[in-house]
Symmetry: C2
Subunit: 317 residues, 2 copies
């Protein structure tokens, strides 16, 4: 990916995916406002089909293909929310979908992709095997690779969540999103450039995978780390285009301990009545951890996903 | 209460409480639609402040008082969602609020009422002591009794949830609500009379407290039973005015086992990502239990409350 997506690409993506993804509601809680000392506006992206914002980027990527490429299909490697989102987006568009999955992946997640018509390609659970299998599927089928986050169309699609939030909530002083590979983070940076250039972008990142915070501080990507966090959606290394976009946007990082994330998750269940996963709750945790940073502001918080094992709630472990 | 509320009272209530209660979102789930074999439109009243639809009736009752009565205050007997809702509604209106509470009530619920400025009056946990204490508080303070459900203003206020649902969702073939004392049920009957006279009203009721089903079948209220159900919000006897309204409206009852309610609760958490209590989930359970009754219809389901003890989830008991 040489050409970085720009602010206008988020506007194009919003037009392209309209009617094919949910307009998710904005939620409020007086109790959480009091606790945080600011006005919190939650964008409920965990209510997208598939239970995550990922449907936005996947839908934009699939629907941007020309007819010939769409007929050949799409391929990705992800056993998580992106794989399911791409399956749903491709099925809705009548496009074949291939997903390369590690052979130790959770059966329920594989079944979810299969249910949406994806053809699964098991491979050994290493990065090298994943990429090799992906290349092989591309060669055999002519399918287009849709990377989970280091992809211009995916980034632009994810940015539509913040765009929609601004339309629903009006002016915001800051938007807080979780950061892993950086698809949502970079997309949000572009959305703010397009629609709210004075709004700050804060990236909530787990202490056990804080490569983005270190990258922004050092001015160079940090790829040498072993992630250790309960936020299973935020373990990836920040993508290269994602890094460049976030650096140019002056995004700020906020590093959060897992204990704070789990406490925030419990608050979101109790007060906002929303089933969100740890990788979502970290954004509220970032606000609660630094009250002086957000005091009195109007703060948008993107709730990114709600895919949780109800039999294994972390506060009961 | 001699004069029954009428359809027009729900329209008046909607105008009176506008801006003082939340406009709650309508939620959808393709997975649940497939499972149910019909189109489900969920009205998220568990997202009201206080975590329940009860704020509608309480706000209507408080704001319908003249200035002199409002200054004297309101009183009720409820250790559950109505007590908290009345405290919130009264505090927002600057009206004193008294709540008679059994001295074995849950501390967290009492603290919640106190936090919203309510003055608590403990009494022994019997119906007789509750009513006597309530009369005593009325005599001492001149406060107006706001009964949890057998009250015209409360019934009309609760009906605004269905009115708003119809405005948001468009035409519906049926609306399903839980029934306990019957405030929401009777209010919904009036709302449908006002805005959707051809829409069926189905009352979801726990098998262990199915007095409404028996009352509608027998044509006379059934007061001689000991409730036994996990739906702690639905243990009350159907109120007298509530019965008359539901009977006149031709409401249908659907009796649901607790096991089916808990299974539906889990589905709402898993698929709709909503933290709802058993007394809410029973409405979805009623639909899933009788697929032929709802096949192919557009069905509104009111999610009534989300106040759950996260440390004691029923499917882990």
């Amino acid at each position: 990916m040489d050409e970085l997506p720009a602010a206008g690409d988020v506007l194009d993506a919003a037009a392209r995916i309209a009617g094919h993804v949910a307009v998710t509601p904005v939620l409020r809680s007086r109790a959480l406002d009091v606790l945080a000392g600011c006005t919190l506006v939650f964008k409920a992206e965990h209510l997208q089909p598939g239970g995550a914002f990922k449907l936005r980027g996947a839908t934009n990527a699939v629907r941007a293909l020309d007819a010939e490429a769409a007929a050949r299909g799409v391929v990705t490697h992800s056993s998580g929310n992106h794989g399911a989102a791409l399956a749903i987006a491709a099925q809705a568009h009548g496009t074949p979908c291939h997903v390369v999955v590690p052979d130790n992946a959770v059966a329920a997640k594989l079944e979810n992709m299969r249910r949406h018509g994806a053809r699964l390609h098991p491979c050994p659970p290493t990065q090298a095997a994943r990429e090799a299998t992906c290349v092989q599927v591309q060669a055999e089928t002519g399918a287009t690779l849709v990377h989970p986050y280091a992809d211009a169309r995916v980034i632009a699609g994810q940015g539509t969540a913040a765009l929609e939030l601004l339309q629903q909530a009006g002016s915001l002083d800051a938007v807080v999103v979780p950061v892993g590979g950086g698809g949502l983070a970079a997309g949000t940076a572009l959305a703010l450039a397009a629609a709210a250039p004075d709004c700050r972008l804060v990236l909530a990142e787990p202490a056990g995978a804080a490569d983005t915070a270190r990258a922004l501080a050092a001015g160079v990507r940090q790829t040498d780390f072993v992630p250790d966090t309960v936020c299973d959606g935020l373990r990836a290394v920040l993508g290269e285009p994602n890094f460049r976009i976030l650096q140019a946007a002056g995004a700020e990082a906020a590093v959060v301990d897992d204990a704070a994330t789990l406490a925030a998750m419990r608050l979101l269940w109790q007060e906002l009545k929303q089933v969100v996963e740890p990788s979502s709750a970290i954004a509220l945790a970032a606000v609660l951890a630094q009250p002086q940073r957000f005091a009195g502001l109007r703060v948008g918080v993107v709730l990114t996903g709600g895919n949780v094992d109800l039999e294994a709630l972390p506060w009961r472990a």
